[in-house]
Point group: C2
Chain length 97, copies 2
DNA sequence: AAGTTATTTTCACAAAACTAGAAATATGGA
DNA sequence: TCCATATTTCTAGTTTTGTGAAAATAACTT
């Protein structure tokens, strides 16, 4: 994970709607949520949801799996852990904490 | 830390220039860096640096302390740790991981 | 094939973010 | 007071983001 990569993920999470969406998926856990379930929880236009969902997927924070007509969305925990690791990494390299 | 608050911090970190700036401060550790030292490392216009610095300070991620004519900037580690905690919090509430 | 449900893409627009030059402010020194 | 250094604010231009209605696509059912 480099700086540019981390910035994409952080920017994805740095929007209130997307952060709420992501957290809903984190809470949902392994089972994930369908796009429709996400929409019910967030109460936003489907096109707006799709727009934000795409950003999270592009950032690698969310994955989708099709089950017949519905798309299941899941938080990618590994990617979030890597991001957290990046943030705390290299702390006080030039001077001890 | 609520969602809106976390989003402000994540958005602040979600810009490549600001993330590089923040990481420079994290690396610098307790001693921090002056605004001028930050500018030397990032090689951007001083007004641009000031603009991004303000965003990090507003988000609570960076603190400043004046020492005569120079302003020393330091990463606020407590705030970052709280943000990281918020991100991993509530993981899989609805279903076990 | 025709209809139904689930989701995305296109489009248009308003709002916000990013950038940097120039001017202004703050602090200390001669 | 006058000058130098450090940093911010103002201003203006360009680019990007966020939103939702309407249309399009995908997958299933009858």
């Amino acid at each position: 994970m480099d700086t540019r990569n981390a910035a994409v993920k952080l920017e994805a999470l740095g929007n209130p709607t997307r952060l709420a969406l992501y957290r809903a998926l984190v809470k949902a856990g392994h089972g994930g949520l369908s796009v429709g379930e996400c929409q019910q929880r967030l109460q936003i236009a489907s096109s707006t949801l799709s727009f934000h969902l795409k950003a999270l997927i592009h950032a690698g924070l969310v994955a989708q799996e099709r089950q017949s007509r519905t798309l299941i969305c899941r938080a990618n925990y590994d990617v979030m852990n890597a991001l957290v690791g990046f943030l705390v990494d290299e702390c006080c390299v030039e001077e001890q904490c």
